[in-house]
């Protein structure tokens, strides 16, 4: 991405890190405030704030048909976390269940996306066709998770005449591997598709971060005899640690909200092996009709997102002080 003019659209990418303006001019109690803020405020109140409160309260209720029938305290949470092996199964090692699958996604998807994104950004910066490479890896960001799911279902097809992966492995395997049908492979296969979809995003962010490292620093280190490896781990990595942490937070949010890809590629299967939290929430509430239980899963998602919300607000507030 080429640099844009100051005050241009780049101001939006990291807007909170920019110095804020002081109090804007204007009269207090300007009557037009209501006109400008009213419609958005009403929608936020009715469609976000009210539902959030309703769902939190419903999660402590039997919640049949989504109505408040009988107070059950923490029953839904206890039954989800201790009595539902498809949600969390700690009786074996490694554990299983939707929450555990989210943990696998959080660890492997996040770290591998950042790693490959960094490698692509560093390699691409050394060649003239950098923008082409970045466009190629960024392309999957444009397409729907549904389309991405079809693309990868096709790559993973068990028939070696259809699936690219099995065609490549054909010389060493007896017959096609069912990547999405095998309980011990399905999560790795799904995470692989997810990584493919997100590396471009990491590449673009990290590439911009790399470009902000003054070239004199790198030159000086190379002149002093530092190897490329030392330059990479000693200078580049520490200098892009803030963008990496912002990126990691974004990817973790993706993981908590992950739904479309799983729903289309495996529908949570085989059995319940590839379910994730957002899948369980949908499955319990809409086809399952277990609204109280679904509400409890939604609240668990919300709880997982609160630390991220706090991080964003803190980032925002600290930038206001500087």
């Amino acid at each position: 991405m080429e640099a844009t003019q100051p005050g241009g659209i780049d101001a939006m990418v990291e807007p909170t890190l920019k110095a804020p303006v002081a109090k804007p001019p204007g009269r207090r109690n300007d009557r037009s405030t209501l006109l400008f803020l009213g419609p958005a405020g009403l929608l936020l109140a009715v469609f976000l704030v009210y539902p959030a409160i309703y769902t939190i309260l419903l999660s402590f209720n039997r919640g049949r048909r989504g109505e408040f029938t009988e107070w059950v305290g923490l029953d839904h949470y206890i039954s989800l976390l201790t009595g539902d092996k498809s949600f969390l199964d700690l009786t074996q090692f490694p554990p299983e269940g939707a929450i555990w699958n989210n943990v696998l996604w959080a660890v492997f998807y996040t770290s591998i996306v950042i790693f490959i994104g960094l490698v692509v950004a560093v390699l691409a910066s050394r060649v003239r066709y950098e923008s082409v490479i970045k466009a190629v890896v960024f392309l999957p960001m444009a397409i729907a998770a549904t389309a991405l799911a079809i693309i990868w279902n096709f790559v993973y097809a068990p028939d070696a005449n259809i699936g690219l992966l099995n065609a490549i492995l054909a010389p060493v395997t007896e017959r096609g591997i069912s990547w999405l049908g095998n309980p011990s492979l399905v999560n790795a296969a799904l995470i692989g598709a997810g990584i493919w979809g997100s590396v471009g995003f990491a590449t673009v962010i990290l590439s911009a971060a790399l470009k902000s490292i003054p070239s004199e620093i790198l030159e000086a280190a190379r002149v002093d005899g530092a190897s490329e490896r030392q330059v990479f781990f000693g200078i580049i990595i520490p200098m892009v640690s803030l963008p990496i942490s912002v990126l990691a937070v974004t990817l973790l949010v993706n993981v908590v909200k992950l739904f479309d890809l799983i729903y289309v590629m495996t529908n949570g299967g085989p059995g319940t092996k590839s379910r994730v939290i957002a899948f369980t929430m949908y499955f319990e509430s809409i086809p399952g009709g277990q609204f109280g239980r679904g509400a409890a899963v939604a609240v668990i998602m919300l709880i997982l997102l609160i630390p991220i919300m706090a991080y964003n607000i803190r980032r925002f507030r600290s930038s206001r002080v500087t």
């Binding site: 659209i9 958005a40 959030a52 079809i150 005449n161």
Partner: protein
């Protein structure tokens, strides 16, 4: 040590051989990047090629062998568009996406203007609340909103999904646009105020025209977000004839899991508009997505 100074080659007029040497020095980098490019292109190209292959060919040979046979057809697209109702689904996606983009664009701009250039009590606190609402997952709204919409009949029209998409787009839109609006020149807005412009006049004649890049990036982001959405459609579009393409393709997959000629063509009809946007408006698109990462 060789004491004879070698002729210095100025970087500007490298000889051909020097260029080749420099290229070869970077060979590992080129190979690495070539592998990355293949991994990122092959899956999509494979499905694209497959979407033009006759059904009979797909069952017996891989798409990578199709260049030897060279038999391609548009029949898959015809079948999926008319026979499988993808044309109707395309129209449905459009009917969902356009209002779900324009409404938040207008409402978020207005609210962002209030947060950046109007003075009212609890302004900063309310803005922090908006930032906090960014993180609310749509899942917390499903049950209460289904209860809320049920008696209104909005679930049998696109009303429910328009309103829900709009509401969930607002926190991000307000956040993004407010952060852009505060960078506008203060003198300009104060001068207009002194000249007697109303808030509405300032918003319409100064703030919006100066913020077209930011509003465009947000609009493109939101349009593609809705275009590509499956989850909201699953919950808030209950009438099968009103399903968008994402749901229609998921349906196709669960009905005929191995009819790749239909799935490939369907997936590319779904991808066509986002890819068009990607290639024509790449800069806005990338900026919008980067900014949208907070969503």
């Amino acid at each position: 040590m060789d004491v004879v100074a070698e002729p210095r080659v100025e970087p500007r007029d490298l000889t051909t051989s020097a260029r080749i040497v420099r290229f070869l020095n970077k060979t590992p980098i080129h190979i690495g990047l070539a592998i990355i490019a293949i991994i990122w292109l092959a899956p999509t190209v494979g499905l694209f090629v497959t979407s033009f292959r006759p059904r009979a060919d797909i069952q017996v040979t891989g798409w990578w062998e199709s260049f030897l046979q060279f038999r391609f057809t548009l029949a898959n697209y015809a079948e999926v568009l008319s026979g499988q109702g993808m044309l109707q689904a395309f129209v449905n996606t459009l009917l969902i996406a356009v209002p779900s983009t324009l409404l938040p664009l207008i409402l978020a701009s207005m609210a962002a203007y209030a947060f950046s250039w109007l003075n009212f009590p609890f302004r900063d606190g309310l803005f922090l609340l908006v930032v906090a609402l960014l993180m609310i997952p749509v899942q917390v709204a499903f049950i209460p909103l289904l209860k809320l919409f049920a008696p209104t009949g909005l679930l049998n029209s696109y009303g429910a999904i328009w309103l829900t998409h709009t509401a969930f787009a607002l926190p991000f839109g307000i956040f993004l646009l407010r952060n852009f609006f505060i960078t506008l020149p203060r003198d300009l807005i104060e001068a207009a105020r002194i000249d007697g412009s109303s808030s509405i006049g300032i918003f319409r004649n100064i703030v919006v025209p100066l913020s077209v890049p930011a509003i465009a990036a947000y609009g493109i982001f939101q349009f593609l977000w809705v275009w590509n959405d499956l989850l909201m459609a699953l919950v808030f579009v209950q009438n099968g004839t009103m399903w968008p393409m994402t749901k229609a393709i998921q349906n196709l997959l669960s009905q005929y899991g191995t009819e790749w000629h239909l799935l490939a063509a369907g997936a590319f009809i779904l991808m066509a508009v986002p890819l068009l946007v990607f290639f024509s408006l790449q800069r806005y698109f990338v900026q919008g997505l980067l900014a949208g990462s907070v969503k």
